[in-house]
């Protein structure tokens, strides 16, 4: 169907090349700024991939994804800084705890559908945001928590955090790629299209929804951990409901239902503003307009454009052949 573009990395080789490229990038480019931008893209890709799986694949809307992003970041930061827990344990606890909370929340929440689900997830992030802002002894309130990355992780890991971030993102892409070409992936799409229909074919709809919810929350937790250690200070604003809305926008602009789209969306949302500085006051206005243009003229999102371009470049013959076929039909 046209609504959901399902363009994906169709080869593991492409992924491998990407992985190698990003692993060796720092040896060629010596720009901390560029590295930071790539790190932020990777973090948002993790968020986008998870959300896309939940939303583009399973059809469960969430306007509360930044709550899980926050849970990952805060849990690891609190454990490391307030309880002196070694970072590797803190990270595992953060991911597992976020998954657990997602699991508990998903039971009542996933009973809801469509707009009701949207509101419930929005309420969830607003509640989490309030707690982060008000529970001062634990979360530091709006002053947040300062994470002294170097002393917590040791200089070597702190210096090479980039590889952890990129590595985990590549693994996440690989996993989702696997899902999307397996029967599990199709079953998730099936319940997106018709819940009763899926249920009648033996697909445990509820369980699959919960799986997707928990998995995407855990990916968000990983993103949160990276963000906390990269930025070294976390405050509730970083994880606000507004960020959740941005994430949703990112997935749709990238191309709903497409893993590639989630990544292109992340690039878009991080990089575009960098180009808009020259417009100063008008930058957000232009940003919003560009999003509108993409939605209006490129239904498949950025992934759709990407697909078209690459089809044009690499399969020129086949493509133009098909095109002319259609033309003849139209003319007749």
């Amino acid at each position: 169907m046209k609504n959901f573009s399902r363009f994906n990395f169709n080869s593991k080789y492409l992924l491998l090349i990407l992985a190698l490229l990003f692993f060796f990038l720092p040896t060629f480019v010596n720009s901390p700024y560029l590295i930071r931008v790539i790190e932020m893209i990777a973090i948002f890709s993790l968020l986008g991939l998870g959300l896309n799986f939940l939303f583009g694949y399973t059809g469960q809307i969430s306007i509360g994804h930044s709550a899980f992003y926050a849970l990952g970041a805060y849990t690891s930061a609190i454990l490391e800084t307030k309880f002196a827990v070694p970072f590797y344990i803190a990270w595992i606890v953060a991911i597992v705890l976020t998954g657990l909370i997602a699991y508990l929340v998903s039971f009542p929440i996933l009973k809801l559908k469509g707009h009701y689900l949207a509101m419930a997830t929005l309420a969830f992030v607003l509640i989490v945001e309030t707690i982060l802002g008000q529970w001062i002894p634990v979360t530091g309130g709006h002053d947040g928590i300062t994470v002294l990355t170097v002393s917590l992780l040791g200089p070597w890991i702190a210096q090479n955090l980039y590889y952890f971030i990129i590595g985990s993102t590549i693994i996440a892409i690989w996993m989702l790629m696997n899902i999307s070409k397996s029967s599990i992936g199709r079953s998730h799409q099936a319940l997106r299209d018709d819940e009763d229909g899926a249920e009648s074919l033996g697909i445990p709809v509820k369980k699959y929804k919960v799986n997707a919810f928990v998995f995407s929350a855990m990916l968000a937790a990983v993103a949160g951990i990276w963000y906390a250690h990269l930025s070294m200070v976390i405050t509730p604003e970083v994880f606000s409901a507004g960020v959740s809305i941005q994430l949703l926008m990112m997935v749709v602009v990238g191309g709903m239902g497409s893993n590639l789209g989630a990544i292109l969306g992340a690039i878009f949302i991080i990089v575009l503003p960098e180009f808009l500085y020259d417009f100063q006051d008008a930058s957000m206005f232009i940003y919003g307009s560009i999003v509108l243009v993409i939605l209006l003229f490129f239904p498949g999102g950025l992934a759709g454009i990407f697909k078209k371009v690459s089809k044009f470049l690499f399969h020129r013959k086949k493509y133009s052949g098909k095109e002319s076929e259609v033309d003849v039909q139209n003319a007749s």
Binding site: V326, Q329, N330, S332
Partner: protein
Amino acid sequence: MLKVKNVSAGYDGIDVLHEVSLNVNEGEIVSLVGLNGAGKSTLLKTISGILPAKKGDIYFDDQKVTNHSTDSLVKKGMVHVPESRFLFPALSVKENLLLGTAAKDNKFRKLKSDELFNFVFDLFPVLKERSSQRAGTLSGGEQQMLAIGRGLMSNPKLLLLDEPSLGIAPILVEKIFESLLMLNKEGITIFLVEQNVSISLDISHHAYVLDLGKVIMSGTGKEVLNNPQTQEVYLGGF
């Protein structure tokens, strides 16, 4: 009353109908038969303006109405009861029926029922019983009755019916066809797509056979029904 001239139409660049021509004269019942996928529903959708015609022309009451909007055609008296019914599942039976009158005058008028209700309720008493039930919870057959009932509410001149017997119990199918005859006698022209050819051709003045988007045969209802080819393809085996 209805003239279809060399109409081609289809979906997304793929033509389903190829230069179809046919006529429905005022006061007649005309049937269209054909195998699954022949393009019968596509033709009805093209006539009623749901689907654009890519080529050819459609005349209604000697007026060219090719690609006119569905609502303007309903206003002119052409009503389509589609195969997929397109009811309003969340609205009550009564509201569904009322909406059949939407085209008549769309002022900010207050809702009220009129004698048309009684006509439909006489035809399908069960709808009266269920008048405040949500259409979405009706049984399959009840929904079909509601779709036909809604079509009748606008007091049409020409009724395009796509498989009215779909999902209807035998005893009621008889009743529906009797009513069609009655409606026809009252002056409503009917263009009918029906799989149950033995009964539909039986009451039709005229019939066309569609195959792969082309009209391959036409004649009076009886002629088409008794044609050996029809017998084999459409009645084969029973």
